[in-house]
C-alpha cells in the first residue's frame, strides 16, 4: 500500500471527486458560466482541504455539458491553492491521450503539489473525446490496454524503450520531469461490471470502482474478480488498494437529503443519459444496503461501513456536485461529511 501512499493504520481515506458536468440548476433554471464552474471547483477543493478531507479529484469529458476538458490544468490550480489534500484525476481518459504527455503533466503536478498527485486512468464512459480527438471507438479496448501498459512503464522506469501500435516508439527515452519521490500512484478506473475490474487485477494496478447506486452487493463480483485476477497474475492483493466512488448528498436528516437532491440528480440523468432517475430507485437510497450515498450522516456512515465489510476498500470518494448543485449546498455537504461521517468511518476502519 505504501507505494500508493495508502496507510491503512489511519483508516479509510475519504474525499470528493467531480466529473465536471456543467448543467443548469433545475430549481433556479440558472446555468453558471464555465469560468465560474471551474473557479468553484477550485474553491470546493480548498473547502475540502480545510475540512480535513483526504482527496480531491477532477475528471475530463470532451463534449457539451461539461467544463473540465482540461482537467490537468484545473488540477494544477488546485495544487497551487492547497497544501495537504491529495490531488487526483477522476478520470483521465487515457485512451485518447498520449501517455507520455499524461505522465509529464502529472509528474509536474506532483512537483507543484509537493508529492500529492495521482492518476486515475480510464477509457471514458462518454464518447466525446474519441470524436473530438480523432480516435476510433472500435479500438476502445486496445487503445487503453496499450497506453495503460506504457503509463505504468513510464512510472516504473527512468529510461524507457517501448514500441506499440498507437504511438511512436520510445528508444531509451528519458521522460521528464520525474515525480517528487520517483513514482506516483496510478489507478485504473473501472465501471460496475466485473469484466473491467478483472482487467485491472491482471494489470496489478489499484482499482477505482464506480458504485453509483443500486444494491452494494452487486459490486462484490467486481471486487472479488479484481483480487482473484491480481493473484493469478502474481500480485499480492494486500498491496493493492481499492477506491469506491458514488454520487453523494448529505443533509441533517434523510428526508431533507432526498428532497434537496432529487431534482438535481433527476435533471442530470435526463441531460446526460436520458430518461430521468426513477423515484422508486431513488427512494431505495434510504436503505443502508443501497450504494447511492444520499441520506443523513448516520445513514451514510452505515452505507460506507456496510460496503467496507464486503469490499475491504481503502478509499471512498463522493461526487457532490452533479446536476447544478450550488456551492452553498456543497459547503454544507463537506461540513457534514468532515464533522460527522469521517471521524466515525476512520475510527471503525483504522487498522492497528
Amino acid at each position: 500500500m505504501e507505494k500508493y501512499r495508502i496507510h491503512p493504520e489511519n483508516g479509510m481515506e475519504i474525499g470528493l471527486y467531480s466529473i465536471g458536468d456543467h448543467l443548469r440548476n433545475p430549481l433556479t433554471g440558472e446555468r453558471i458560466s464555465a469560468q465560474r464552474r471551474i473557479q468553484e471547483l477550485i474553491e470546493t477543493a480548498k473547502l475540502a482541504e480545510d475540512a480535513g478531507l483526504d482527496v480531491f479529484a477532477v475528471g475530463e469529458s470532451h463534449q457539451p455539458l461539461f467544463a473540465t476538458q482540461a482537467h490537468t490544468v484545473i488540477l494544477g490550480a488546485i495544487a497551487q491553492a492547497t497544501n495537504k489534500i491529495k490531488i487526483a484525476s477522476s478520470a483521465t481518459v487515457l485512451s485518447t491521450a498520449d501517455p507520455v504527455r499524461v505522465y509529464e503533466d502529472f509528474a509536474t503536478l506532483d512537483l507543484i503539489s509537493n508529492g500529492r498527485a495521482e492518476i486515475v486512468a480510464g477509457r471514458g464512459s462518454r464518447l466525446g473525446a474519441y470524436d473530438l480527438l480523432g480516435f476510433d471507438v472500435r479500438d476502445y479496448e486496445e487503445l487503453f490496454e496499450e497506453k495503460f501498459e506504457l503509463l505504468l512503464k513510464l512510472n516504473d522506469e527512468e529510461r524507457v524503450t517501448w514500441q506499440g501500435q498507437f504511438r511512436a516508439p520510445l528508444n531509451d527515452a528519458e521522460v521528464l520531469p520525474q515525480p517528487l519521490n520517483g513514482s506516483i500512484p496510478i489507478w485504473r478506473a473501472v465501471g460496475g461490471p466485473a469484466a473491467s475490474a478483472i482487467k485491472a487485477g491482471y494489470a496489478g494496478a489499484p482499482m477505482t470502482l464506480t458504485t453509483l447506486g443500486g444494491p452494494s452487493r452487486a459490486f462484490i463480483p467486481a471486487v472479488q474478480g479484481y483480487r482473484e485476477a491480481a493473484e493469478r497474475a502474481g500480485f499480492d492483493t494486500k498491496t493493492l488498494p481499492i477506491t469506491t466512488t458514488s454520487l453523494m448528498y448529505v443533509a441533517e436528516d434523510s428526508k431533507t437529503a432526498l428532497r434537496e437532491y432529487y431534482p438535481h440528480l433527476n435533471s442530470a440523468t435526463i441531460q446526460l443519459k436520458g430518461g430521468g432517475y426513477p423515484k422508486q430507485q431513488f427512494a431505495a437510497a434510504t436503505d443502508h444496503r443501497d450504494a447511492l450515498m444520499v441520506g443523513s450522516p448516520q445513514q451514510i456512515i452505515e452505507k460506507i461501513l456496510y460496503q467496507y465489510e464486503m469490499y475491504g476498500h481503502q478509499r471512498f470518494l463522493g461526487e457532490i456536485d452533479a446536476g447544478g448543485v450550488t456551492i452553498d449546498q456543497m459547503k454544507k455537504n463537506i461540513e457534514l461529511l468532515a464533522t460527522e461521517i469521517v471521524p466515525t468511518v476512520k475510527k471503525y476502519t483504522a487498522k492497528k
Binding site: L127, V137, K255, L258, R259, Y261, P278, K279, Q280, A283
Partner: protein
C-alpha cells in the same frame, strides 16, 4: 399526453396504411393528445454505434428524442424473415437500456402469412420487456388479405385497432395515476 406512432418498415405500404388508420382513430377519439407519426421509410437513419442518443445528428437524433419524450408508443411493424425488420431493431438499438420505462407500448403487426402469428410474442415483446415497456397485452395481427388498395377491408381488424387505441390510452392514463400516487408518498 404524447403519443408516437412508429411505422417500422422502410418499404411497402401495409404497415403504413394500418398506422394511418390507427392514428386517425386516436386523433378523433383523443383530440387533446399530442400525436406524432414517425415513418421509418421517410427518414434517413444511421445504424446505432453505441453513443448516447442525444449525440446523433439529423433524423436519427430527432427520431430517438421524439420516442424518448413519448408517454405511449404505438409500433407498427411488418414481418421480415419471421422477425421485425432491421430498421425497427435499429431504433431500439439507438435508445438506452431502460428507454421504455414508464411508457406504454402497443403493437400492430402485418404479415404475408398467418404462419407469422407468433412473431410478436417471440421476437418483439422480449425486446420491449427488456427495455422496461408496459406492453398492451393484445396486439393486432393483420394479413395481406385484410388489405385492398391501401385500405383495410376487414371489419374485425378495424374493430381490433379501435380497441388497441383505447387500451393504449387507458393503460397509459392508469399507469400515470399509479405512478403519481406512489410518488406522492415519497415526499421528494
Amino acid at each position: 399526453m404524447k403519443v408516437v406512432g412508429l411505422s417500422g418498415a422502410n418499404v411497402g405500404t401495409k404497415t403504413r396504411t394500418a398506422m394511418d388508420y390507427t392514428l386517425q382513430v386516436a386523433r378523433e377519439k383523443y383530440p387533446e393528445a399530442d400525436i406524432t407519426l414517425i415513418d421509418l421509410a421517410e427518414v434517413e437513419m444511421i445504424f446505432s454505434d453505441g453513443r448516447n442518443y442525444h449525440d446523433y445528428e439529423g433524423d436519427t437524433k430527432t427520431v430517438a428524442e421524439t420516442i424518448m419524450e413519448a408517454d405511449a408508443i404505438i409500433i407498427g411493424t411488418p414481418t421480415f424473415q419471421a422477425s421485425i425488420p432491421a430498421t425497427l431493431k435499429n431504433v431500439f438499438d439507438l435508445l438506452p437500456v431502460n428507454a421504455f420505462r414508464d411508457k406504454v407500448v402497443s403493437i400492430i403487426v402485418t404479415a404475408g402469412t398467418p404462419k407469422h402469428y407468433m412473431m410478436v410474442e417471440q421476437q418483439l415483446k422480449p425486446i420491449l420487456s427488456y427495455m422496461k415497456a408496459h406492453i398492451v397485452p393484445t396486439y393486432v395481427f393483420i394479413e395481406e388479405v385484410d388489405f385492398l388498395r391501401k385500405e383495410i377491408v376487414n371489419d374485425d381488424v378495424l374493430f381490433r385497432i379501435d380497441r388497441l387505441v383505447e387500451d393504449t390510452f387507458i393503460m397509459s392514463d392508469t399507469y400515470r395515476k399509479i405512478r403519481k400516487a406512489k410518488e406522492e408518498e415519497y415526499g421528494f
